[in-house]
């Protein structure tokens, strides 16, 4: 009886998760996605009044370079872009970035931080995992396929440990894994629905939590004697029962594997004699004939299962636009509607139609006016009154973006690429500079297991102010100072601004910098430092 009520409830609740792009604004199918998005974003009647207009070429290039390649462009790249008069140059640079090795590395970093939240790599080496992700983005593998691999839980091949990393680094704790799958992959934090229906979010029920939990509850980590590795073991049987702590009658329910708002898993009857491919034994990772764990990824990545697509769409949107269509990112529910529901529907639908093609989605997002809009409010308007996205969001650089932008601004990245050219200059420069970048990443990263937030601290300012490494990268004789000092004064000022802030100086800045450098030519590093520590460098705008 309670089952039928449950099914009914889930049915009702799933209404809000259904796509409704057909009912949305007059989106013409034949129009490119970016045009349809811009129309939906600009629908507010006040929009035109506040519309900040397109960002300047240099601001756009810096922005898209940081978002897609992971760090700021070089002065040469900016000069080339500014000199290009072709009307399609923004489209071309987007395309070029999306197909660059930097893009693959950047997206691997972004999704590593999203999925693993900087948990220490105790069981699966970070380098192997990162390389798996990098290859996935390099080849633009369909994201659903990648997630099915990551969540396959299949640890039998010692060379494919990325298949169990998500679980092992979470101590194979089914509760932690359930929580994180709901938060990070479904955009719904079901943690508060573990002991009772969620006290504040009506949509999140205890049965949703335990539906997810039932997929992973049979796993444990086992130290395999022969392979000398920690492996994931799974039992073929065992059910979880639960009660609500709020239920005075203490009715006990049995968890049924079922993704939230999705269908229940159909489990085959397995011959009792053939429950296992590898039977459980001491120090052996058991492999059941029918694995619930292996079905989890399939269930969440099913084409008609919406939460997975909404979550991905929202996070890709936020990566470029600086805020989610719904926030927090793990609070997708009917009482927290997206700011632009039709846009979310459109993106979620596109993911299904294009086969989880992340590169294609990012291309369309980067092509929107919404993305390319200026972050400077229109003169005479109050930015606080502006509709969302009428002015571009000023977003902090991630720890990685900041670290690698410092490497770029100081000229280290370029000089390492040249010095260690060969077949893979990007990879070589990355590997050799990674320890230097780590100095900043470690200081700016949130603690393991927590999502990245922006909380500037004094110790970070001290690091940027006084750390001998950064000091030496700006000092006389450094790559940057040497290059700049070889140039005549007007060009020197231009190159300094282009290298650090990604734009040409305005008249006032030219004048002040020229005066300063005429008076104190040796101290060009201090001027570079001042630009590097200004919010203009710290943020993507």
């Amino acid at each position: 009886m309670s089952m039928s009520r449950t099914a009914l409830l889930a049915g009702v609740l799933s209404l809000f998760l259904l796509p409704c792009s057909k009912a949305a604004a007059p989106a013409v199918r034949s129009e490119p996605l970016h045009v349809r998005i811009d129309r939906l974003i600009g629908i507010d009647q006040d929009f035109a009044r506040y519309d900040a207009g397109l960002a300047s070429d240099s601001e756009f290039l810096r922005r898209v370079h940081i978002d897609l390649a992971g760090y700021i462009p070089t002065s040469a790249q900016i000069r080339a872009f500014l000199a290009d008069s072709a009307p399609d140059k923004r489209r071309r640079v987007i395309e070029q970035l999306l197909n660059s090795p930097e893009y693959a590395r950047n997206m691997a970093q972004v999704f590593d931080v999203l999925l693993m939240e900087r948990r220490p790599s105790r069981h699966v080496p970070q380098a192997d995992w990162h390389e798996f992700l990098r290859q996935a983005f390099l080849n633009n593998r369909p994201w659903d396929e990648v997630v099915r691999e990551i969540l396959s839980g299949d640890g039998t091949d010692p060379k494919k440990r990325h298949r169990i990393k998500f679980f092992l680094e979470r101590d194979s704790d089914p509760h932690l894994v359930s929580r994180d799958i709901s938060r990070l992959l479904l955009g719904m934090n079901l943690q508060c629905a573990q002991c009772h229906d969620h006290p504040r979010i009506e949509d999140y029920r205890q049965e949703h939590y335990y539906g997810l939990f039932a997929f992973v509850s049979r796993m444990t980590a086992v130290q395999d004697k022969n392979k000398k590795l920690l492996l994931l073991s799974e039992k073929a049987d065992g059910e979880t029962t639960y009660q609500s702590v709020f239920d005075p009658k203490k009715i006990t329910k049995t968890a049924v594997p079922r993704v939230p708002f999705g269908p229940a898993l159909v489990e085959p009857l397995v011959d009792k004699a053939k429950l296992y491919v590898i039977a459980p034994a001491a120090d052996v990772a058991a492999v059941p004939t029918f694995s619930r764990l292996a079905r989890l990824a399939g269930a969440i990545t099913q084409r008609d299962y919406l939460p997975f697509r909404r979550n991905l769409a929202n996070r890709l949107w936020a990566h470029l636009m600086g805020r989610g269509l719904f926030e927090p990112f793990d609070n997708d529910h009917s009482a927290n509607p997206p700011s632009h529901p039709e846009v979310l529907d459109l993106l979620a639908q596109e993911l299904a139609d294009n086969g989880f093609n992340i590169r294609a989605i990012l291309r369309e997002l980067a092509l929107t006016k919404t993305y390319q809009r200026s972050s400077i409010p229109r003169p005479g308007t109050d930015a606080k009154q502006a509709p969302l996205y009428a002015i571009a969001v000023v977003k902090p650089l991630s720890p990685e973006q900041l670290a690698w932008s410092v490497m770029q601004a100081t000229g280290l990245l370029e000089s390492y690429r040249k010095a260690y050219g060969g077949k893979d200059p990007e990879g070589e420069a990355y590997r050799r500079l990674a320890p230097s970048a780590a100095l900043f990443i470690n200081a700016f990263a949130n603690p393991p297991g927590q999502p990245q937030t922006f909380e500037p601290r004094t110790d970070q300012a001290l690091l940027l102010a006084n750390h001998p490494s950064l000091r030496s990268w700006l000092a006389p004789g450094s790559t940057l100072a040497t290059r700049l000092n070889s140039l005549p004064l007007p060009t020197r000022v231009e190159e300094l601004y282009l290298s650090v802030l990604g734009r040409l100086p305005d008249e006032e800045e030219r004048k002040e910098a020229t005066e300063f450098l005429t008076r104190q030519p040796k101290d060009i590093g201090d001027l570079a430092w001042a630009l590097l520590t200004s919010p203009e460098f710290r943020f993507n705008h």
């Binding site: 949130n446 937030t453 909380e455 300012a461 006084n466």
Partner: protein
């Protein structure tokens, strides 16, 4: 398997932005403004000093001696400056400060694991899956701290730690209230102006920075850009306070009295920092995990602890700081009354003691009692929750007030416990 009734929620909720939004609603209740307002009204800044005797100090060799019993060990009890109160003879200097101190001799924290015991004593609660509570230092940095103070709100002086910032300890309060650890009492990392940068050049580059920042902020000022630029002002402020971290500036005689060894220097540093406006300072003295040779080790360790600690209390009192500084001497647990075959004492949390002093604490008070040989609490049993209620009350804060994590109220102290009023002034 069964639901473990662990209601957790915090991890994603830790976003400072959402916390601030939620806490913004609490502004009207006065939680956030109260400390600074109180400070204005009283002309007093409240501070906290924690001495952490790491490893688990023996209550029998310190605050609750049981000489002449089967568990008492070789050391005697000595009278103190408060008639009727006796403590271990290993603490002769501290004994003379007893009129400034209060003892809680009936602590039962029911946790014999180092890590979990430390969490209980540092957060006032048992560890819960899903919800991490902030350390007392982070809570005090948040509640008693002052935005304009360039000193970190929570300073942790460690003997030979790693230094740096342990962001996780601030839990949902956010990394800004995380402890800054001073490895061996050294100043925070990167506080030194680069050697090749003159004071004049430093001033110039800071002016250039302000100029560049101002240009950007003219048209694009947000709460985030504001918070970011402020950190440089705080860094400059902290660099100007660098002298506070240098105990060599103190008179030779006083340095001698504190002791030239690590713990002595660290105690003196703590006093300098508290005097210089620090909100919360923790000093760790280690090596109390005496599973063997408990008595030799305590003789040695407490011999090092006694004089610097007594000197610190007296110094704070003489400078008029003790009235506004809550002092807590704690461990992660005590040690077994039973003496093992290696002449050691093992982990023991059922009946042990802490010592308090200063702000809001009644000097010369003793609360709680263990039985004749110290194997059980017989009167006024309390746990860390009671201690936290007491700390907050002593500091003039309402322990029943809440932090807000996404509208979810998180009481400052465990609502199941209450303050130990007998030792509150």
């Amino acid at each position: 398997m069964h639901c473990n009734y662990a209601c957790g929620s915090s991890d994603h909720l830790l976003s400072r932005r959402s916390f601030l939004t939620a806490a913004g609603g609490a502004l009207g209740l006065g939680l956030l403004t109260q400390p600074s307002l109180a400070r204005v009204l009283n002309g007093q800044q409240k501070r906290v000093l924690v001495i952490d005797l790491h490893g688990g100090v023996s209550q029998l060799e310190t605050w609750d001696p049981k000489p002449g019993t089967n568990t008492g060990g070789p050391f005697q009890a000595i009278p103190t400056s408060v008639p009727g109160i006796h403590i271990s003879e290993l603490l002769p200097h501290t004994a003379r400060q007893m009129h400034r101190m209060a003892l809680v001799r009936s602590l039962n924290t029911a946790e014999d694991d180092h890590g979990k015991g430390a969490i209980i004593m540092n957060t006032g609660r048992r560890q819960e899956p899903g919800l991490t509570y902030p350390h007392l230092g982070s809570a005090c940095a948040r509640l008693l701290g002052d935005e304009s103070n360039p000193l970190p709100g929570y300073i942790n002086i460690t003997p030979h730690g790693t230094g740096g910032v342990s962001v996780a300890d601030a839990a949902f309060l956010g990394p800004r209230f995380a402890p800054v650890s001073l490895d061996d009492g050294k100043a925070p990392q990167n506080i030194d102006r680069p050697a090749d940068l003159t004071a004049a050049a430093e001033q110039t580059r800071q002016l250039l920075r302000l100029r560049a920042s101002e240009r950007f902020l003219r048209r694009r000022r947000t709460a985030q850009t504001e918070a970011y630029t402020q950190t440089y002002d705080q860094a400059v402020g902290l660099m100007q306070k660098k002298h506070l971290f240098n105990t060599a500036n103190e008179p030779e005689k006083l340095r001698d009295r504190y002791g030239r060894h690590d713990f002595g220097r660290h105690c003196l540093l703590a006093r300098r920092l508290l005097e210089g406006g620090a909100t919360f300072v923790k000093v760790t003295h280690t090596n109390y995990d005496t599973h063997h040779e408990n008595f030799d080790f305590h003789l040695e360790q407490l011999g090092e602890f006694d004089l610097p600690f007594a000197t610190l209390l007296e110094d704070l009192a003489l400078r008029g700081l003790l009235d506004t500084t809550l002092v807590i001497v704690q461990s992660e647990f005590g040690r077994t009354p039973n003496i093992n075959h290696l002449y050691g004492r093992d982990h023991w949390s059922r009946a042990w003691s802490v010592a308090l002093a200063g702000c809001g604490i009644k000097g010369g008070a003793v609360v709680g009692k263990t039985n004749a040989n110290g194997t059980a609490v017989v009167d006024r049993e309390v746990n860390a929750g009671h201690l936290f209620h007491t700390y907050f009350k002593a500091l003039g804060l309402d322990p029943k007030k809440n932090f807000y994590v996404e509208q979810r109220p998180i009481p400052l102290a465990d609502p199941k416990a209450s303050a130990i009023t007998e030792i509150l002034a």
